[in-house]
Every structure is written in C-alpha cells, then in structure tokens.
C-alpha cells in the first residue's frame, strides 16, 4: 500500500526524464520557446489540480505560488515571441513533455489526501529538477537570440528557487 505510489513515482521519474534526454539535436529558437512555454503550462495545470484537490494549507499555498510565477514567466515568453516575431514551433520534446505530464496528472487525479499531497510535491521537486537540467544543458546553450537566452536564464533562477521551495515543503510533510 505504502510502497506502490513510491514505486510508481520512481518509474514515472525515469519515464519523464527520458523526453528531454532524447533531444540530442540542438533545438531552434522557435522550438525552445515552445518547449519553455509547454514546461510552464504543465506546472500550471499541476498547480490547478493541487489547488482543487488538496486540503493541506502548505500544499495549496505552494501550488498558488507555482501558478502565479509560471503564468508570469509564460506571459513574458509570449510577449517576447510577439516582439521577436517568432512563432513557437511544436516539436518532439514538447510532445513528449506534454504526454508525460498528462500521464502524471492522470495518476495524481486518482490519489487523495496525504497520498496526493506527497505525490504532488515529490513530482514538483523531480519535475523542476528535470526542467532545470534541460535549461542548463540544452535550452540556454542552444538559444541564439540574446533576449530569449536572458529570459531562459531568469526562468532557470525562478525554477531553481521553486525546486528549493518544493524540497522545503516536501520536508515539512514528513
């Protein structure tokens, strides 16, 4: 009973870590913009689910922080692509991210109470870690436009902050 969600999470982490690792080819700026926007949207969706489902004050507060920050980042991203006249381009990495996120949401939706809270916050830690890795090793080095690169760098700082915040909340649940 207690082992199952943990095992599922561990399996999910392995699966969800794969999409970004596969993106060996250097993405273009329109693709990078799409990946970054998709990554933000995924966390907003997860936050909305947590706000709806959780009764834990800390979890709900954290989810609201995620929703607010990622909406602000995504708004900046949209403003920038408009200014640069770049059309975000869907790609395999975005598709893989969206697919993994949909599966994760499906799993979270079935959980309740403390099981949900634990699974949500642990996934937040793992997800931000994964996105930060992708930003550092792939997206930032690949970005050619200076403004896009700068936005991604701010995004990395925000997401690193979120990872630490999530780790703190996860520690409080124990």
């Amino acid at each position: 009973m207690f082992m199952r969600p943990t095992a599922a999470l561990a399996a999910l982490f392995l699966i969800s870590a794969a999409p970004l690792a596969q993106a060996a080819d250097k993405p273009t700026d329109p693709q990078i913009a799409h990946i970054a926007y998709t990554a933000g949207s995924i966390d907003i969706e997860a936050a909305k689910l947590a706000i709806k489902k959780s009764k834990n004050k800390e979890i709900v507060a954290f989810a609201k922080d995620m929703e607010r920050d990622h909406e602000a980042v995504n708004k900046q991203a949209l403003d920038l692509v408009k200014k640069l006249k770049v059309t975000p381009e869907d790609n395999d990495t975005s598709k893989a991210l969206a697919k993994a996120a949909k599966e994760e949401r499906g799993k979270l939706a079935k959980l309740k109470g403390a099981d949900f809270d634990k699974a949500y916050i642990e996934n937040e830690v793992a997800y931000h870690k994964q996105v930060n890795g992708a930003l550092e090793t792939l997206l930032i080095p690949s970005a050619s436009n200076a403004e896009l690169k700068s936005l991604l760098e701010t995004g990395l700082k925000i997401f690193q902050g979120h990872q630490q915040h999530a780790e703190h909340v996860a520690g409080m649940l124990k």
Binding site: A72, I158, Q160, G161, H165
Partner: protein, 100 residues
C-alpha cells in the same frame, strides 16, 4: 525664553540621528546590494523590478511581502546581523547588519 531655548537645543542634540531609508533593488531574482549596513530605527525599502512577487524573510523573525513591480519595507527594531531570503525563491539571499 532663554532656558526654554536651551532645553530645546539640548533635546535636539540628545535626540538620535534621523533614521535613514536604505534602498535595495530586486532585479531578475537578485537582491542588490545583497549586503547592507543599517542602524536600529532605519528602514530598508525593497524595490521589486521583477514580474514575480518576492519576500524578504528572516527565519524565525520578520517577513516583508514585496509584490511584483512594487515595493516593500521594514523598520529595523533590533541590533544584530540577519540573513534573509525569499520564501518563494529560497535561492535569493540577502544580509543586513544592524548596528545600535
């Protein structure tokens, strides 16, 4: 009149120096300057240029909310050195040395 004026002058001399406001800017998740020195009674005012809300939080102590594109301030009441951080983004760190 004279003794009264003298008393007033002495009161002015005896009163502590005017409290100052020390400005700290937040831009792209960085407190700048990250380290400031202040006196008890001084005010620290943070100007947040980011589109994200931040806090200046002292663990086990005070917390100031600094909304996006806005300001937040605190008047320092006790001497001592404090580390502060943003509760939403704990990788943002600052330091205030408060002298009596």
């Amino acid at each position: 009149m004279r003794p009264l004026l003298l008393a007033l002058a002495m009161a002015l001399i005896a009163s502590p120096a005017l409290a100052a406001t020390i400005e700290v800017t937040i831009d792209k998740l960085v407190f700048s300057p990250a380290s400031v020195q202040a006196k008890v009674g001084d005010t620290i005012e943070w100007t947040n240029k980011d589109v994200f809300a931040h806090t200046a939080t002292v663990k086990g102590g005070w917390e100031v909310m600094i909304p996006a594109k806005s300001k937040g301030k605190v008047t320092l009441k006790a001497a001592g050195a404090v580390d502060y951080f943003c509760r939403f983004h704990p990788n943002m760190k600052g330091y205030i040395e408060v002298v009596p």
